[in-house]
């Protein structure tokens, strides 16, 4: 059984999204959370490229992918800088410990 390129990429998209989601479900380390978000975003980028290819609107898919790349770079930068600040102030990077910020 041979797989077409489209189905291979589709499996990759699902795989990336699943890994990212699973990681967000189980990790508690803030830097790992940022990494998980990055994996999710990469899955989404690939998904948009694939959708553009399937619909024949490659340009639209690419422009959306570019938008996500920018957004997720910003997420990474701000997330990591927050991580530095949080480590500085609270001495931990455990996200569950951050619930203390409530109230």
């Amino acid at each position: 059984m041979t797989l077409s390129l489209v189905s291979l990429v589709f499996i990759a998209v699902i795989g990336l999204l699943a890994i990212g989601l699973y990681a967000l479900l189980v990790v508690r380390h803030l830097i790992k959370v940022v990494v998980a978000l990055q994996i999710l975003a990469k899955g989404a980028i690939l998904g948009f490229i694939l959708a553009g290819r399937i619909n024949g609107q490659i340009g639209l898919g690419e422009s959306l992918a570019l938008t996500i790349i920018i957004v997720d770079t910003i997420v990474a930068v701000i997330g990591l800088s927050l991580a530095v600040q949080i480590r500085h102030h609270m001495g931990t990077l455990d996200v569950n410990a951050l619930t203390r910020l409530r109230r």
């Binding site: 967000l24 479900l25 569950n96 619930t99």
Partner: protein
Amino acid sequence: MANFLILLILGLPWLGALLVWWVSDKRSKAQTVLAVLFSVLAGAASLMLIPFASESVALNIPLGGAFGDFTFVADGLGVYLAVIATIIGSLAVIFSVDYMRGEAQLGRYYALVLFFIGGMAGLVLTSNLLLMFVFWEITALCSYALISFHSDDPKAVYGGIKALIVTQFGGIGLLAGALLIYSYSDNYDLQAFIANPQILPPSVLAVAAFGFLVAAAAKSAQFPFQTWLPDAMEAPTPISALIHAATMVNAGVYLLARFYPAFENVPGWREAVVVVGVVTALMAALMALVSNDLKRVLAYSTVSQLGYMVYAIGAGGVFASQFHLMSHSVFKALLFLAAGAVIHSVGTRDMRQMGGLGVQMPLVRTVFAIGALALAGIPILNGFWSKELILEAGYTHGPLWAWIVMVVCAGLTALYTFRCFWLVFAGKPRSSLNGHDAGTAMKVALIPLAVGAFLTELLAGPFAHLMKSTVPSIEIEAETTLLVLGEVVTTPLTLVVLAVVALGLAAWWWREKLAGLSSALAEVGRAAADSFGFEVVNRGIVIGTNWLAEKLRHTQTGLLNWNILGIAAGFLLVLIILVIGG
């Protein structure tokens, strides 16, 4: 040319807002000059737009097809309301020069006022439903921010938040209606919808119609949402004038008038509009009668007069309602600004402490008297003509019981207006308050409005003509000033209404002889002073929401993993529904 002017009407106030914001609060003189300049220029631009009024799209901003094009149409209805918003708005700004002198954070004040004026002008000129919703919310946001301008005063903050929350119900109604229309007609163009409302199935059309009625009622402080407007009186007085006369509350009546042709055949809709208008007008008039706060009396009178306009739309008199809107804008702005001059000078709003101020402030007394006579509907002032027009439309097309109640309300209006004037300006001083007459900028704002209260009825003809030629969906019979005014003069109904108004005035004159009657009506007065229990309902809703929020707090764990689980579960649920639903 028209597209350029529309850009100016929207752009000038907003550009002014940015500039005022950018100039620091240390240079408050420059801020004031900028605010006055830009608001007056916007007013001039809207006046210049009148000759270019037409029903075709004047300005089109394509948006790639995602939300329909952002279109603006300068038809008669839109242009007139834009003129009212910008002209009355600029007069309120001019008045603020004296009223707000020396206050802190003038930049925030003027920037928001200009943003408010631009937002209202956009709301009446756009023909894209989605954009209309955006402008609608801009006016709500600005009113909230300006009502609680004195953010260190808890009452002002309370009034602002209340206005925001209550008007949000209206926002939901408008959004729901707009989305329903979009889902069936596939575009947000409201002209296309009004021309062909049958696109929607009757049941959906009815939902949209009542959604818009809720929106209008919340915005125009109609029953059962009337409670926010009196509490909004904590705002600086020029803001009250702006909200009551130029921007904000007019939007609701405008919405009803705009969509009347689409909804008039929805079963029960017109009756509902009439009931909302009549109940509001009566209740607010009674509350105005027992209030002792000068600004609250005026606020209740606004609610009551808006009730007249809503009633007129329900009875089919769209032109009469918009005409009264124009008259009301002029005389209510006059009354509020005159009241502002009084409050600014004596430092209290309690009418029981005033009295005899007419001697100290002759100019303010004169202009307030003109505004009060117009509000009471005394002949030759603009309020008389437009109110008679509404009552005539109501008598010929609406139910008789509603007409009778509205005529009684006209008498009550005369009574509370006269009481208010008497308590403030006439009689002997009841405390050692020292008044001084209005300053120069105040006079510049007050005198044109006082002249306008005598003259705006002459605009009836041009207004009717413009409406007839550019808003074909609204039926208008008379087209010249003489015909419109002649209609009022020749009908015997006018005499009936005038007699009731005279009765209202006489009731105040002989108030001591009528002591028996007033004590018999004391229960009604007490209920009116308690705003007929609506405040209790409001408080109950707030307490209930707080209780529910406290109960639901436990679902907010703040733990990332749980939140992700919730998102994933929700996503799965949506997928399953989509799969099952096909």
